[in-house]
Symmetry: C2
Subunit: 597 residues, 2 copies
């Protein structure tokens, strides 16, 4: 931190974000700056006839409206599922006479070529939501800007393009090899994009509260430059971590941020589950396990939005981002649907500017179909368009719809949080019934039986997100380390693969995600990755949440009764991969892409 | 061509495409192969409950249907605009019980995470259209595969990622510098993506029939390796070239292809206007100019689809692609709307496989909103979904809609071709009235006037596409080479900039695209780029096509009456760019991104 920044801060004014352009990749640096603002005047001449742009005329679009039956924001109540709340018909008209492009939602603009930063009315709404509601207390002068993305996976690929020079062994010098810091257990797709670029994936250990600042300091302070450049990028999820379900507190975030600032590390914060934080988790967990409810102090409320729901949530890294080194990825995938392929990036303006340049010559913009329908949903029609649509439809039901607005949007998120939290509680309650194997062995010579209690499953209820992260204590299995039908004794990976396959057989029919999918490198995969399973309580139908959790527990217990090494080997062999046990991990890692997790 | 391929061919069997994997970039080579097919069995177990995937349940998507008022394919008749043909209401239901994923169109699948290759029913339809209707006579064994794209700009960026190692002066060896062959005048966005990657842009001269095979041979045979690696990629548009409006014949394609094959060049063929070929252009041009209609032989019909319209069109490079070196880019931008951000790539299967790997960790898939609505439009609902929707709506009008089907899709394209062809004819007729400046100077001492005829505009009517490409003969302007108010005499770039700005003033109010935007390098820009303007007959409203063309002609003629160097300088100064005349070209090149041309 330089002294002028300190001076500004002591005067009560926020300093501007740091200039981080030395972190840009060579390709990113070479992208042309935009001359658009100056040239824009030519398009804005009143009455100008445009023969310059190579655009088809909107007359020739075969869609005259886009419409939808859309939920009201009250559909899912925070306390109980109110699925009876009806839907509303929404429609995007072909053309609107609204002169303000920030307000005009119609197909003549939404289905035409548009701005890389986003469809103006939606961009304007997202910017307002981001700056005034989601992160009202930004930490540097002027605060962050936003740009729409085609979902966070694409945003992440573009952020790597922005900051990373691809590296090839034997061609590039090892001192230039870029690195990516991440959690020990990590969502896999970002690594699948980083690895082909030649990046060092650098795991950092966690404790119960999330990534450990001491472990991070240790990695960076003792960096061995024979491995490559000291990493200048971190990828992390902090609010409902995938796969571990942790929520990283603001206090912990400050500690991690201080280390990142010291070592000039940029933080890519991917938060698809930020609004899925579960206040009941600690109490319900204690109740389920017969413990006394932990006497934790209520978290300090640091946000001051008009929405108690939002104020109750742990905030983003952006809250402590005095340097402008945080790039936050948001998505509509979990709040609207994954098929949107729509999200946004939040970062200091000079990073957003480069992001837009990359977008202009690749994806150009998210699809106008989804941008206009989501805009219509959350903003609603302008009064003029509303009346026109009412005239054009027989029923005229649309005339009363005025969009969810910010209140409705926050209400929708709160309803989703309630629904997912209830699913989580039901799944964890079901699993808790099967944590231990209890065996009573009676002996003929005595009047009493001997009760042995073996812990099969070890886990903490998730504090956020969509996942339960379990450690299966394979070490307690009767066949642990027993001779196998192959040359080696039965190890953890073998038992883990066998149980995964056992669970997919009748009568269990449950598919879980193995820890190997989330192990950030082969050592972690071999060392302890096999011990973990991730269970998602979001994907299945409501009815199946209970059924599948129970079947899972039954399956685990039944698996502990297998006494034959041959049966274990048969299960392992049934895994649909030709090249044997080891590549299960690789195979599962690849599955992640398809699972969309 | 190796001998085994020759042997196969002489036996009547097509040889397989060449292995081109040595052309893959280092990053592309390092991407993992997909293990999906093997792992897929796990998901396909009947009755399996999926706790593995990190997907939200479709119950929580706020969209219960997506709907639209959509045109019938007969809306635009090939002979006259039949805009009275009504629209049809279409709807994508929340869930369909259709078991075949290739046929199921519903929001539970379309708005969920999906396949990178594309939404199965739409992908299946596009594959059929591509292989059976658009390119029925593919030239290598098995023929090409397809993958959906987020529009051709994104497809092009991904194809560069697939084949090009980014290159940086001073870091990488000059012998490794990648090159991109292109037409002398070229659509600019692909260059905006290639240049930051450090590519050599290598223009090839054209004649009236398109890119010259001799010029191409000359460039490649005499390649100066001190400039970089001999280019292994070509970018070109051959059917309604942007900006020149040329259609490159099959005969010429064969000649260009032979050179590419000889020098191992991959061809990226970008064809957004392939169906906009104008059979009336030659005859109408002759009529307009009072020439005899050219007695050209009708083109040999080489395609054998059930559609006379398609058979009449000049085919793609894919028709002669015996090696599998053609990557064709298609888009729904001009047939449905640019805001779709939806298209597809066609190439040999091993290239498509790499393309899908790149997609999986970036865009993942085009938006399900547009994929499902376009699928619904062209395929139509399954009978079961149709009945369900009819029950759910009061009017039940949707029950009769069965999708455009292939017949309707081809009919829609033919209708668009007719509509754009009529616009083109009207614009060219209007411009033809102003090609010459005719001046009658009468002298007092004689009874007759002297008529002088100066050619101001030189052009050929476009044979396809959306653009009229004009050379303005600035050399005939009274102020050509005259002393200016600055140090230098008035040159072409000055006059061209001045005319561009003059046309934006009242009473003309016409904005045209300058040739500098399409000059493939600074030398071409300085040498002759300034002499050209591109006029688009597609973007403006129908009424304005005539008005804007007339205003353009009037403006050009009026500009020839300007006698004051000061007035010219004032016009140049009015160009909204701070850094002077030279950067007009840069500024305009950047405008291309925004114009979406």
């Amino acid at each position: 931190m330089d002294t002028s920044a300190d001076a500004l801060r002591s005067s009560g004014e926020k300093p501007p974000p740091l200039d981080l352009s030395h972190h840009f990749s060579e390709v990113t640096k070479r992208r042309m700056p935009s001359e658009m603002k100056r040239a824009y005047n030519l398009f804005a001449i009143p009455g100008i006839m445009n023969l310059a742009g190579g655009l088809p005329n909107a007359q020739f679009f075969p869609f005259d409206t886009l419409e939808a039956q859309a939920a009201n924001p009250e559909r899912w109540t925070p306390s109980s599922d109110g699925s009876a709340v009806p839907a509303t018909h929404i429609a995007v008209p072909k053309a609107s006479s609204e002169p303000d492009v920030m307000k005009r939602i119609d197909l003549s603009t939404a289905l035409q070529y548009g701005q890389a930063q986003g469809y103006p009315p939606l961009l304007s709404w997202v910017r307002q939501f981001t700056r005034e509601v989601l992160h009202p207390d930004f930490a540097y002068k002027g605060g962050p800007d936003v740009a729409m993305s085609c979902g966070s996976t694409d945003a992440f690929a573009k952020v790597l393009h922005l900051f990373v020079n691809a590296w090839t062994e034997g061609i590039n010098d090892v001192s230039e090899r870029p690195g990516l810091l991440c959690d020990k257990f990590v969502y896999g797709i970002p690594l699948s994009e980083g690895l082909p670029r030649g990046m060092n994936i650098v795991p950092v250990n966690s404790d119960d509260s999330g990534m450990s600042p001491d472990a991070l300091e240790d990695v960076l302070a003792n960096w061995d430059s024979s491995r490559g450049k000291r990493p200048h990028l971190m990828y992390t999820i902090t609010l409902g971590h995938n796969p571990t379900g942790k929520v990283v507190s603001l206090e912990r975030k400050k500690e991690i941020y201080a280390v990142c600032s010291k070592y000039h590390v940029l933080i890519i914060e991917d938060e698809p589950y930020w609004y899925l934080q579960f206040p009941s988790a600690a109490a319900e967990e204690a109740k389920s396990r017969g413990f006394q409810e932990p006497n934790t102090l209520p978290r300090e409320i640091t946000s001051t939005t008009p929405y108690p729901f939002l104020n109750s949530l742990t905030p983003s890294f952006l809250k402590v981002d005095t340097d402008g080194r945080v790039i936050r990825l948001d998505t509509f995938s979990k709040t609207v649907s994954p098929g949107c392929r729509l999200g946004w990036v939040t970062a200091q303006p000079s990073i957003i500017e480069r992001y837009i340049r990359i977008t202009e010559t690749s994806t150009q913009q998210p699809s106008g179909f989804v941008q206009s329908l989501v805009a219509e949903l959350v903003i609603g029609p302008q009064p003029e368009a509303q009346a026109a649509f009412a005239r054009a439809t027989l029923a005229g039901t649309a005339s009363k719809f005025s969009g969810w607005q910010m209140d409705g949007w926050v209400r929708w998120l709160e309803g989703l949080r309630g629904s997912y939290e209830r699913r989580m509680v039901r799944m964890c309650q079901a699993i808790d019934t099967g944590i231990h194997e209890i065996k009573t062995s009676s002996s003929i010579s005595s009047d009493w039986g001997v009760v042995t209690k073996t812990k099969l499953i070890d886990y903490t209820w998730p504090r956020g997100g969509m996942f339960v992260w379990l450690r299966i204590n394979f070490e307690s299995h009767p066949l642990w380390n027993a001779p196998s039908t192959t040359n080696r004794p039965i190890d953890g990976l073998t038992l883990s693969t066998a149980l995964l396959m056992f669970l997919t057989k009748k009568p269990y029919l449950v598919l879980v995600a193995p820890g190997s999918m989330f192990s950030s490198n082969p050592e972690i995969r071999a060392g302890s990755g096999w011990a973990y399973y991730r269970l998602c309580f979001a994907a299945e139908t409501d009815e199946n949440v209970d059924a599948s959790s129970q079947k899972f527990v039954e399956g685990v217990h039944k698996f502990w009764r297998i006494k034959s090494a041959g049966e274990i080997q048969k299960l392992v062999d049934s895994f649909p991969h030709a090249s044997g046990v080891e590549s299960l991990a690789d195979s599962m890692a690849q599955m992640g892409t398809w699972l969309g997790c």
